[in-house]
């Protein structure tokens, strides 16, 4: 069953919950190879997003909700992840502009647009130890699922699983973008915090579509 604008709202709420539950863990990860603020940044951002989305009119389209997510993240998160996630949701919003509901194809378009937004803004490639290492396999998995005529929920579940696996694969990498890139070999053995938060967001998306 195609996903409604309520699904986007649920996604936001569940994301806020996951980020809040994992705030300390994200801070810890970012302290290891960054500056220790990722959990705080994301938690501040998604708390604001929850509030803003709650103020939207009942008839807001999926695209409208996603746009509010984008602008709120841009104006509350800061750091590197703020503009990157902001761009991701902005592009996602544009990708589903004319949809009252999202079918599997639209979901894939949305995810791909988000990933492309992050890449165009941050110039990171897969293997650079960033959130792209979660998003790119997620999009790939979603596309593969769509080719198998998967439901929306199956597409999102595939994306979430792939994001989680992609995030875990950042452990042995040397970073080439973001703060962790300053550490050289010392980044090896640590997971990229942005890839973890990305996997959390995609898990939330899958969960609320079930």
């Amino acid at each position: 069953m195609a996903l409604s604008s309520q699904w986007v709202r649920d996604w936001v709420a569940r994301s806020a919950q996951h980020i809040s539950d994992n705030r300390t863990e994200l801070i810890r990860l970012d302290r290891e190879i960054g500056d220790g603020d990722h959990g705080e940044n994301m938690d501040r951002g998604f708390k604001a997003v929850s509030a803003k989305v709650g103020e939207l009119p009942a008839d807001a389209s999926p695209s409208d909700v996603l746009k509010t997510v984008a602008t709120t993240l841009i104006s509350t998160v800061g750091g590197a992840s703020g503009p990157l996630y902001g761009t991701a949701f902005l592009k996602a919003s544009q990708a589903v502009k004319d949809h009252a509901e999202l079918d599997s194809a639209a979901v894939v378009d949305m995810l791909r647009a988000a990933r492309d937004g992050i890449v165009s803004r941050g110039k990171a490639e897969v293997g650079d130890k960033t959130m792209v290492d979660a998003w790119s396999p997620a999009v790939q998995a979603a596309e593969d699922a769509l080719a198998q005529e998967a439901t929306e929920q199956q597409v999102l579940a595939a994306a979430a699983d792939a994001a989680k696996a992609g995030s875990e694969k950042t452990d042995p990498l040397i970073a080439r973008k973001g703060r962790a890139s300053y550490l050289g070999e010392r980044a090896i053995g640590h997971r990229d915090p942005g890839s973890v938060s990305s996997a959390l967001l995609l898990m939330a998306a899958a969960e609320v579509s079930a």
């Binding site: 500056d35 705080e40 890139s181």
Partner: protein, 332 residues
């Protein structure tokens, strides 16, 4: 974690309130937060706006005033500000001659200032950006996010600020800022980590007989941990990296900045300055201007950085020009 704070999430807001109360010559906007000269916009003058995460005080709010910045935009501790306050500050200080953004090279700062510049431009304000990246600790910058902007940023702000104050146009001010950034190199070290208030735990761990060489200013770990050694040996290691990088050469006149990371006693900074000065003298490089103190900090971190800026007559004159800010003041 013990700090003189109330609520960790109110640290920046409350500090800004304190700053507003103690500096009537500044106007502090809240929601969104920025600090500007009370007399801005100065009509016809190029305006300088800088900003970035908090925790590096006096950078940048302490450098707002006559002859330096027109506004500073502080983000949360160690987190770049979002575009909104940058746009607001940019609009508030634009005197019609355009605005120069001075941005330290961190992904977050660059992206947020970029967005802000786009938005300000959409409102008809001419904005140029200079991205500082003086930190030689980051090697192989092709394979990283690029070199970090650290204490050399203060020198860019002072000298470009003097250029704007004497009436130079936006291209000229931006050109001078680029020139300072191109001629300055910095290297930092830490004896202790620092603790971000909302994180509550130290940013890295160091044994009692180790120091971190090549740290940035966000409590991030450096390039390597080394066994503790005397001040002179540490300074030589840092100065070698700095001097070889540009490279600085015999006959150069330079400004030497020894910058404390926040928790280092002044006596120690002077001891480091003494050796850095001798290191340069041994290579025929003359220190014609100097600055010693806490100018670009990492909260309570103990440690310091050395910055060397190659000077010519113009840069020297602009350095000497009057400046009247909370943290840097002379000639007025």
């Amino acid at each position: 974690m013990k700090k003189i704070i109330n609520d960790p999430s109110e640290v920046v807001a409350e500090a800004l309130q304190g700053m507003a109360l103690s500096h009537p010559e500044l106007t502090v906007a809240t929601d969104p937060d920025y600090i500007r000269r009370a007399d801005a916009p100065v009509k016809g003058k190029v305006a300088l706006v800088s900003g970035g995460g908090s925790g590096h005080e006096p950078l940048h709010g302490g450098f707002v005033g006559y002859g330096m910045l027109d506004a500073a935009v502080p983000g949360p501790v160690f987190t770049s500000p979002t575009p909104d306050p940058i746009v607001d500050a940019t609009k508030a200080v634009d005197g019609g001659a355009g605005v120069l953004h001075i941005v330290k090279n961190y992904t977050g700062d660059v992206l947020n200032f970029e967005t802000a510049a786009d938005l300000a431009l959409a409102d008809g304000i001419e904005v140029r950006a200079v991205v500082t990246n003086d930190d030689v600790a980051v090697k192989d910058s092709l394979y990283t996010a690029g070199r970090r902007g650290v204490a050399g940023t203060v020198l860019v702000e002072k000298i470009a600020g003097a250029s704007a104050q004497r009436g130079d146009d936006l291209d000229t001010v931006a050109g001078i800022a680029e020139k300072v950034n191109a001629q300055v190199r910095t290297m930092g070290m830490a004896l202790t980590p620092c603790t971000v208030p909302h994180a509550g735990e130290p940013s890295f761990e160091l044994a009692e007989d180790e120091y971190e060489l090549g740290i940035g200013i966000h409590g991030e770990p450096g390039r390597e941990k080394r066994a503790m050694e005397p001040a002179d040996a540490i300074v030589d290691r840092m100065m070698t990296a700095v001097v070889e990088d540009l490279p600085f050469e015999s006959g150069d006149n330079v400004l030497l900045l020894v910058n404390g990371m926040g928790g280092t006693p002044l006596v120690e900074l002077y001891i480091a300055f003494r050796r850095a000065h001798a290191f340069l003298a041994e290579r025929g490089i003359t220190v014609t201007r100097s600055l010693v103190g806490n100018y670009t900090t990492s909260l309570e971190m103990q440690g310091f950085s050395v910055s060397v800026l190659r000077l010519d007559d113009e840069l020297t004159q602009l350095w000497d020009a009057p400046v009247q800010t909370a943290a840097l003041r002379w000639g007025r």
